[in-house]
Symmetry: none
Subunit: 225 residues, 4 copies
DNA sequence: GATGAATGAGCTTTCATTCAT
DNA sequence: TATGAATGAAAGCTCATTCAT
């Protein structure tokens, strides 16, 4: 799975009938992609530990085993690097949910599984949640924010489509109703995750899993055909 | 309403049989409280615009019309100042909700009003929401964080108590059920606000108010006596 | 013993045939002198712990139980305060040596005692030595340095006079020879103290007391009548 | 002579059968060493003028013709920079003494020359003396102080060894006696330098050179074979 | 005389990014 | 591509001293 952010990388995994044509170019591209991924992985770790603004390019470079200057051929900005990390995360979230839903049986189970696996993903990787929250603030005036924002929104929509499909299939919803349920569930689960991970639920004497289960049952009851 | 941070300020509005006894001390305290409030207000603005880490003490000082050094007699840290801003916000949120609920008629209306006014408060002051989210990350290991955290949790609990009272009164809930509903509603509304303010709802084609209305109706239906 | 630095204090202990004339003024002056001494004592402690430049007026004020502003009526500067501490120290060094020499028996013992007690004073109060060394550097361009310097030199000369008298009396020296021996001994003992207190002697495998004893014996042998 | 602080620099003057093999690396190292030395020289000047704590990194940078940030690739701390200055000084002191002693004739002259050249070095560079005195105070708890202290002690021991050798050779001393004479002379000369440079000798009517001469003669007489 | 808030300059260190090599 | 020194700005915080009260 290649999470290519910059166009050149796209040329990479074109394996097929003519493997020997340009072996040099392919190898170079593969090396480049690998190095890029090493940097992204290092960045995720450091971002998660130190926060978006608490992280220095030097720190990322150190974690990636290179120097600061070596990052810039792959990412123009700290922000672009952050976006790559986020994009990575959304992508593997989608794979995670698709996998779980694919294994579920009837439509009812698919809805419950979609919601649960969405929640579980972030629950088991709170760093990714933290990272996602940075989208709201920070991200000072840099060049390309709007473009990045659109890109990330697209990725998010892909994720939620999996959940929306399960809900619509189960409840037999039209596009409008489907959209509403997606928003409702997205909002609720995000809120639950945030309240949980910030320990606010704890402070209020609540526990996330039962709450989520209850929400899911109420939802299924409401949609029951 | 005086949002005094340091105990001494409390002596201020002691009106009684001997008002002229310590006019000097009272005046001094009032002046101090006023200057303090100016700083807090300036900080709120700047924090909201630039983020927690993006905000400099110099920036706050400039907004407050003083020098950086003039802040430190009132707040030992940037963090302490941030906590004061947040505390201020939670306090006025509580007043806002109490006021709205107090004006509502029957128990059913009180529930709907509590939820709506909670949502509306942050909707109309998205800065306060942003500010609250900083609680999750940042806030590096500084001196008093745990103490501040406890303090803010207490304030939050006071806010949610108002909502919980309305819900429990309407649905005739016991303590356990009440706690669950508080958590459920708190999570949902926070999630809705965040998704809305980060423009994710927009991107998904949803709109916050109808979603909230729908949630409220479902809740009332579920609790209906 | 009043270590007055500022003229006004001089009016103080003039007790005599007319004790009741101005009791109020005398009381005031005594109070003032007392407060002043409290500040000097606090300053000595803090200077010794944190160094000349590492000490803040706030720190001194805190140690003295007052506020920064309360120091300035007594001392115009941090430097003036430092000079007062040093002056205090030199004065009590003189008393210390005079007392020891006064108790010694024959001229030979007086010389040995003078040197030993000089060394012992600083050995048991290394802070005072540290403080004295600051004279060499630091002490940035402030107003009155030359005046203070003269004053402190005078105090030092008084101290060394006691030693010089003992040496001259024992060896029957004229003024010129006496001066030379004073310088020689002063230099040696200061060097020994500094090398000892900076742990350089330690590092070189030497020990201060035997070295001093050896020096003293050599000196006495040279001067022996 | 290169006073390299970081090991890599050591590879520099490896002249041999293949001088052209790594011209690039050698050049880079040389450039780095040069820039480093420029900073150290600037630091010595500024430290001497303004004192250890009175000196700002900005001031050093200005004197070195660079920005503050440009210092940090070479020295992690103000303290590390100070240590480099001191180390430099002790090293060239040793060279100075060795050179002078090497030129002296018989053993007697070697002793006198060692002591005189030691004194003369600091007399002609009082800044270095000042700098050395800072070792006693200041130097707050920073990271590597103990390590640096050991390093500097080693350098000092090397210096004094030269003097000790001359004395031991002349007087035919065993290790124990040699150690004692080293400490005695080290203490005396340091004290003389300090008293002279702080103008205390002046104030007492003494003059450094005759005093040193007298000390040396007495020493030689005592050790005379 | 004492308070303590305020000033204005100052500090060391770190940062993202650039660029010669 | 990669290096890592350099830039220039900025950060949070502290300081000696002043001054209205």
């Amino acid at each position: 799975m290649m999470l290519s952010h910059t166009p050149p990388t796209q040329q990479l995994p074109v394996r097929g009938p003519a493997p020997a044509v340009r072996p040099r170019m392919a190898r170079d591209a593969a090396v480049r992609a690998l190095k890029r991924q090493i940097i992204v992985d290092a960045a995720r770790t450091v971002f998660a530990e130190a926060g978006l603004e608490g992280t220095s390019m030097r720190g990322i470079a150190a974690a990636a085993g290179c120097t600061t200057g070596a990052i810039y051929p792959y990412f123009r900005n700290k922000e672009e690097l952050y976006a790559a990390v986020l994009s990575d995360s959304l992508n593997s979230l989608r794979l995670h949910i698709e996998d779980a839903v694919g294994r579920a049986g009837d439509p009812r189970a698919r809805v419950a599984t979609a919601i649960r696996s969405y929640f579980a993903y972030y629950r088991s990787r709170p760093d990714d949640l933290t990272l996602g929250l940075y989208l709201y603030h920070g991200l000072k005036p840099a060049g390309l924010t709007p473009e990045l924002d659109r890109k990330l929104n697209r990725r998010l929509a892909q994720v939620l489509d999996v959940i929306g499909d399960a809900i619509a299939a189960y409840g037999g919803l039209d596009a409008e109703a489907r959209r509403m349920e997606i928003c409702q569930t997205f909002s609720y689960v995000m809120g639950l995750l945030i309240c949980d991970c910030t320990h606010r639920l704890n402070a209020l004497g609540g526990s996330a899993e039962p709450l989520l289960e209850r929400y899911t049952q109420d939802l299924l009851a409401r949609l029951a055909p």
